[in-house]
Symmetry: C2
Subunit: 439 residues, 2 copies
C-alpha cells in the first residue's frame, strides 16, 4: 500500500445523505486515495445529538456537536445539514479558514449563492455543489465545464422527484392529486410536510442555480416565477393524455431575446406544463429526474437518472470530494463562479410560449366567433379549437367545453386574454390554463 | 472591455470540426475570455493545403502548413487531424513543449493513449478528449470527475451514429442493410468507405477509451471484442421487433466478478445486440448517441444527444478549451489519467449474458427434446422457446424455425452449444445468434 499525505475531511450533518457519504468514505478510502493521490481522512461528523440512533455502521467517536472546531482543522468541508442557518455561517467559516466546501444544500445556494461564491473567490477556495441538483446525475459539471465554450439557449428540467412521482401516478392510475400524494408519502417519496415539493419551492431553488450557471448571471430566487402542482386535477391529466400530452412540473431557464420588443435577458420559471408525449421528458417516470438542454452548437442534450435519494446524492458528493482533493493536491486557487454576463432577469410577462385553455361556454350560435375575437384583440393567435367534452346540459343552461391551443404568444397578452374571457358573457368559467412546452 | 493576458491556441486540422472550432473561437472570443479570465488567441490553423476551398469565413492568413512551428509557441494545441500519424507525433511535441492538448481523435487515444497520458504526466500537462466520444454529449468529464467517487459497474453505449441510423432505418422502413447504408451515405451519415463504422472499429476505439476511464485500467484496443453490423438482416430486425426488441450496435464495458470461477477483471466488447423496447436505449433514434451507465451508488444514468456532427463536436472541443485555459490561468500540473487499478482485461469467453438463437430444424417429433438436451449438456438454461416462423415446407423436407432465448449463460458455454447445434442431425441451420442486453 502506497502512503499518501492525508487530506482532512469534515462532514456537517449525519442524516441519510451524510451517513451514506461517511460510509462510502470509510469503505472506499484506499481506492479513493489511489484515484486522488492523497489519503482522505474523515475527521468527524457534526450532528445535533451524538447519541441519536444511526442506520449506517459508523464509529461512534466520529460524531461531535462541535462543528466549529471540526471545520477549523479541515481541508475539505462537506455541508449536508440543509436549511439556511447555521449552514451559511459554517460554509463561510470553512471558506475563510481555507477549506474547499462541498454542499448539497440548494436552499443556501439559491438564497446566499452570490455571497458564498464571492467569499470563496476572495480566498481562492472553491465551492462544489453537483449534489444540489438532480442527485447523482451530472448536471452542474456539464454546465460549468463541458458547455463552457457553447451558448445555452434553454433548459427544461424535471428536477423534483416527488412531484414527478405524483403526476406520473395520476396519469397511470387516474388517482386524484391527494391520493397520489398519500401514496408518495407512504413510499417515502414525499415528506410529512410536502409543501416545499408540491408548491414548487424546491424546483425554484434548483431553477435559480441552473439559470445562474447556464447564463453566467446571478439569478436570485426572487427572480424565479413559481407555480406548484396543487391545482392540477386528474381531469386535466386525463384530458392532456387524450390530447397527446403529459403534465410535468418543469423548471425552465431561458435566454430571451427579441430585437423588436427590446427584450434581452434571461428567465427562470417553475410551473406545471403540457409536454408532448413524444418528447424525451415525457418518458421520465416515477421519482426520476432529467435535464433537457438546448445549446447553440451542442444541439439538444438530455441527462437522466434517479432523483435525490440518499445513496445517489452521496455519489455526487463523493465525485466533488475527489475533485476538491485533486485540486488540493495540485494547489492553486479555485475556479471562480462565472457571472460576467449579468444579464437582466426578466419577469414571466416577457416569456413567449404556447398555451392550452379549457373554457366552459354557453352552447349557442356565435359563441366561437365571440371568443375568437377576444383572442384576436390581444394579439393571441389560435392554432386549434376542439369541443371535446360536454358539461351539464339542461333545457335552461346548455353548456359546452372548449379546448383551445394557441400559437406562440407573450405571457402578458395571454394573461390579458384570460381576463377578457373570464369577463365575457358567453364564458361560464375559465377551467384551466396550461403552458405547452417542448414543441 | 477588460484586457487579459492572451493564451495562444494552435489548431491542427481544418476539416469540418476544425473549421467550426475556428469560427466559434473567432466569433465568441470576447465572451470566452470573460469566462476564462484570459484572452484566447487563435494563432494559426495547420492544414495540408492552405489554398484548399473552405466553407467557414476564416481569415486566410491563419492557415499554415508548418504545424511544428505553430505548436512551438502555443499554450493550448487542438488536434483535429484524425488518424495515427502525424497526430501522435504532434501531440507528443505539444506536450513536451509544455502545452495542454485537446483532441477529438479516438483512434490515436485508443492506440497510443498510455504513451500520450504518460508523456503528459511527466511534464504536468493535461490531455483533454471530451470530443472523442459522443460528440457534444458530456461523457468523459462525468466519468472522470462526477463519478470519480463511485464505482462504475457497466456502460452500454450507442456511440456510433452511422450504424444507429442504419439499424433504426432498417426497423422503420423494412429496408435491407445495403439499402439503409445507401441512404446513410446519401444523407452524409456514412462515409464513402463505411468500413470503420459498420465493422465496429469506430465503436471499439470508443469502448477502449470508456472502459479505460471507467475502470481506472488500461484497456488496449486489442482487448476489445468487436463484431460489426454487416451480418444483420432485415429478417432479424423484423423478428426482433415482433419479439419486443430493437437491434442496436452497443459498446459494452463491464466490471466482471465471479468468486466461484475466480473471474475478476474488466471486459469491453462491441457487437449488435437485442435491447428490450422499453429500455431507454431503444428510444435512441437516427444518428443520435447515448451512454447508459450503471454505478454502485449513482444507480442508472443516461446521457443522450446528437452524435459526432461538426458543430456538436466543436462544442465539446470548446468546452475543453475553456477547461484548459482556466487551468493555465490557475497554474499547476494537470490531473494525471487514473490507471491505478490495472485490472485484468478479460476475453469475451468470460462474459455472462443472455442469448437469442434462431434455428432451422427438422419438423418432426422429438426434435425439441434433442435440442433441449444439447443446451443442457453445456450448462445453458433455456428461458423460452417459440416456433414462430415456418420455413419452406414440402412432403420431403418439413422444416420449422425455432427461436430460443436463454437465461444468463457464459459466452464460452453458449459458443460450445452453438457448435453442438450446428453438428446435430436435427438442426438444418443456426440462422442467428444474438446477445440480449439491458435486461
Amino acid at each position: 500500500m502506497i502512503e499518501y499525505r492525508n487530506l482532512r475531511i469534515a462532514l456537517l450533518g449525519g442524516g441519510s445523505v451524510g451517513a451514506q457519504v461517511a460510509a462510502l468514505l470509510l469503505e472506499h478510502g484506499e481506492e479513493l486515495a489511489n484515484r486522488v493521490g492523497a489519503g482522505l481522512e474523515l475527521t468527524g461528523i457534526a450532528v445535533r445529538d451524538v447519541d441519536a440512533p444511526r442506520t449506517a455502521d459508523i464509529p461512534h467517536e466520529l460524531f461531535t456537536t462541535d462543528a466549529e472546531s471540526l471545520i477549523l482543522g479541515a481541508d475539505i468541508v462537506i455541508e449536508l445539514m440543509g436549511g439556511l442557518e447555521p449552514a451559511r455561517s459554517y460554509i463561510l467559516q470553512a471558506i475563510n479558514s481555507g477549506a474547499d466546501v462541498i454542499t448539497a444544500n440548494k436552499a443556501v445556494l439559491a438564497t446566499h449563492g452570490p455571497e458564498l461564491f464571492e467569499a470563496a473567490e476572495q480566498v481562492g477556495a472553491q465551492l462544489y455543489y453537483e449534489a444540489a441538483v438532480g442527485g447523482a446525475i451530472p448536471i452542474i459539471r456539464p454546465l460549468r465545464d463541458s458547455l463552457a465554450g457553447d451558448r445555452v439557449k434553454r433548459i427544461l428540467g424535471i428536477v423534483n422527484g416527488t412531484t414527478n412521482f405524483i403526476l406520473d401516478r395520476m396519469e397511470k392510475t387516474g388517482e386524484s392529486l391527494d391520493d397520489a400524494l398519500a401514496v408518495a408519502t407512504e413510499l417515502g417519496y414525499a415528506e410529512a410536510d410536502p409543501t416545499a415539493d408540491i408548491e414548487g419551492y424546491d424546483a425554484a431553488q434548483k431553477a435559480a442555480i441552473l439559470a445562474s450557471l447556464a447564463f453566467h448571471t446571478t439569478v436570485p430566487l426572487s427572480g424565479v416565477h413559481r407555480e406548484g402542482i396543487t391545482k392540477i386535477t386528474h381531469e386535466q391529466v386525463e384530458a392532456a393524455r387524450k390530447a397527446g400530452y403529459v403534465v410535468k412540473l418543469l423548471a425552465i431557464c431561458e435566454r430571451l431575446t427579441d430585437a423588436e420588443s427590446g427584450i434581452d435577458g434571461v428567465s427562470a420559471r417553475v410551473h406545471p406544463a403540457l409536454v408532448p408525449a413524444a418528447h424525451p421528458l415525457a418518458a421520465v417516470h416515477g421519482a426520476n429526474n432529467a435535464v433537457f438542454l438546448e445549446a447553440e452548437a451542442a444541439g439538444s442534450l438530455m441527462f437522466y437518472g434517479a432523483g435525490a435519494g440518499g445513496i445517489e446524492t452521496a455519489s455526487a458528493v463523493l465525485g466533488d470530494v475527489v475533485s476538491a482533493a485533486r485540486r488540493h493536491v495540485i494547489g492553486g486557487p479555485g475556479i471562480a463562479e462565472s457571472t460576467h454576463a449579468e444579464l437582466p432577469v426578466l419577469p414571466i410577462s416577457d416569456v413567449t410560449t404556447r398555451y392550452q385553455l379549457t373554457l366552459e361556454v354557453e352552447d349557442q350560435p356565435g359563441v366561437l366567433a365571440t371568443i375568437a375575437a377576444l383572442f384576436s384583440e390581444q394579439g393571441v393567435s389560435v392554432e386549434a379549437v376542439s369541443q371535446n367534452v360536454t358539461g351539464e346540459r339542461g333545457p335552461d343552461q346548455p353548456t359546452a367545453t372548449l379546448v383551445i391551443v394557441t400559437h406562440e404568444a407573450k405571457e402578458s397578452d395571454l394573461a390579458a386574454t384570460a381576463v377578457a374571457l373570464a369577463a365575457s358573457d358567453v364564458v361560464r368559467a375559465v377551467v384551466s390554463v396550461l403552458r405547452v412546452e417542448g414543441l
